[in-house]
């Protein structure tokens, strides 16, 4: 459900049927959607609401809370000079979400990075491999239960 206070924002209102939450803080609009609706939401934002560019995709680990992972998408509408943050929450046991690559090709590397650092699996991603860490690296370094010094020391 979209909070009452957000219904005055056209972008948020357009996502009202998909939203599970949202807020407007520090002049920034955030809309939360269920993971299974993420492609529908992004598709609508790109084609109906003209958010031409996906600025980034990243993750936040809320360990030990559940649902543990947040996948965060920052979108930008260049003509309307508007930005929106879309968020989906994933469980710690099985962090899986549909890849955004069919909608925004720029999601490719950002999702690889999120997979590399958080272990979030993006389904139907064309090449979900590590991008920063070596291929044989164990663990996902930006998880909160991954020690700052690594496991080798």
């Amino acid at each position: 459900m979209l909070p009452e206070s957000l219904t005055t924002y056209p972008t948020a209102a357009a996502l009202a049927d998909l939203a599970t939450g949202g807020k407007f803080e520090f002049g920034e609009l955030t809309v939360e959607v269920a993971p299974e609706n993420i492609l529908t939401a992004l598709h609508r934002l790109k084609h109906d609401l003209k958010f031409e560019r996906l600025s980034n995709v990243t993750g936040v680990d809320r360990y030990p809370a559940e649902p543990r992972f947040e996948v965060v998408y920052h979108l930008q509408c260049i003509t309307g000079k508007e930005r929106i943050r879309v968020k989906a929450r994933l469980s710690g046991a099985n962090p899986e979400i549909e890849s955004a690559v069919p909608v925004y090709r720029s999601a490719n590397w950002y999702e690889r990075e999120t997979f590399d650092f958080f272990g979030v699996r993006f389904l139907n991603h064309p090449n979900l491999t590590r991008i920063m860490m070596p291929d044989d690296w164990e663990g996902h370094p930006l998880r909160k239960d991954y020690p700052m010094t690594g496991y080798r020391y």
């Binding site: 803080e25 520090f26 920034e28 955030t30 031409e52 560019r53 996906l54 600025s55 980034n56 990243t58 936040v60 680990d61 965060v72 920052h74 930008q76 260049i78 000079k81 930005r83 943050r85 690559v101 069919p102 925004y104 090709r105 720029s106 490719n108 590397w109 950002y110 650092f117 064309p126 090449n127 491999t129 590590r130 991008i131 920063m132 860490m133 070596p134 291929d135 370094p141 930006l142 991954y146 700052m148």
Partner: protein
Amino acid sequence: MALATKADTNPDLGITDDLVVERDYEKHQTTPGATRTMVLNMGPQHPSTHGVLRLLLELDGETILKAAPDIGYLHTGIEKEFEAKLYQQGVTLTDRIDYLAPLSNNLVYCLAAEKLLGLEIPPLAQWTRVMLTEFTRLNSHLVWLGTHAIDIGAMSVFLYCFREREEILRIFEMFSGQRMMTSYFRIGGLALPHPRGWQKRVKDFIDIFPSRIDEYEELLTGNRIWTGRTQGVGYISLEDMLDLGVSGPMLRAAGLAHDVRKDAPYSGYEKFDFAVPTRTENDVFARYLVRVAEMRESTRIIRQALEGMPSGSHQADAPGIVLPDREKMKTQMEALIYHFKIVTEGFRVPEGEVYQSVESPRGELGCYMVSDGTQKPYRVHWRGPSFGNLQAIPKMIEGTLIADVIAALGSMDFVLGDTDR
């Protein structure tokens, strides 16, 4: 990245992250006389990749069939390190991300933290920030122009560019005490008050700099070798660039007047008069012209900042966040306590999340900061412009000749520290 992999990429999406070499090898074995392609490994120590970018190129003669960038050689785990540092300590890490534009990085980090804290920055600090970030843009563009020209074969431009860059680094040193890793912008304002005699130094530089830009243009713009190597090279459509996440001068060379300084002004940019140069040719030459025009605009902004520099404090009035004046710290008990507490404990930042973006010399530089109400950031994600821009490389160079790769890569102006973080 595995060199030979059987997993084919999805052709509909135009993504070619993996090179499929085995397939061609098998084809050659079964049908003698069939065209055989060659895989060339360019980098990570190739001089024209300006750092440690590795490119795998699948070639048919001199034509590139597929290109696959491989990054991560300069990954230093800075995003993880942010989570272990106090907010004010994080500033020093930002310098090391994009080492050619340290002050743009300082700025975006400070702006994000200040947004969370709700700090009001005094005009003097804002104008100094604008002035020095524009110097950073000049610094970065000069390194880009020099190295880009040397890649294509123009040796002397490099020497001229570094002559001016040296003077900019001296100005940085004058303000912050450091030539490159300045950390001059702090949460709440500036690290130090202005140095004595800075106006003359800055004025001398901007008085002479426009004539120096003319000098570079005389060497390059009408040069037949330069135009021959750059015009019509490195084309990529605007739609592809937007879809692939490209930002900055690359978009402006394709006719889109998109600049964060104009679209979402920060740090008082709305008070400055400057133009956003654009071109429509969308090739390496157009990107060169756009960046040269940007250098002229930056000089204009610096002149306005110099002439209209407001007076006042260089730090916000926030005793628990900015360090007290040195003199007060030595004479007043309260200031000493604040100093001790800020340095040892840091300060609490209210819970929330912000995304702040600025126009770095390379494009949209974004900082996504999540705070959980403690003294250390819960999560900082760095949206480096080079990372976004590099994704467009395969689209840009596939189907072109191998000699043009150097020019196309140079026109992108990426910094690997920014890509890998």
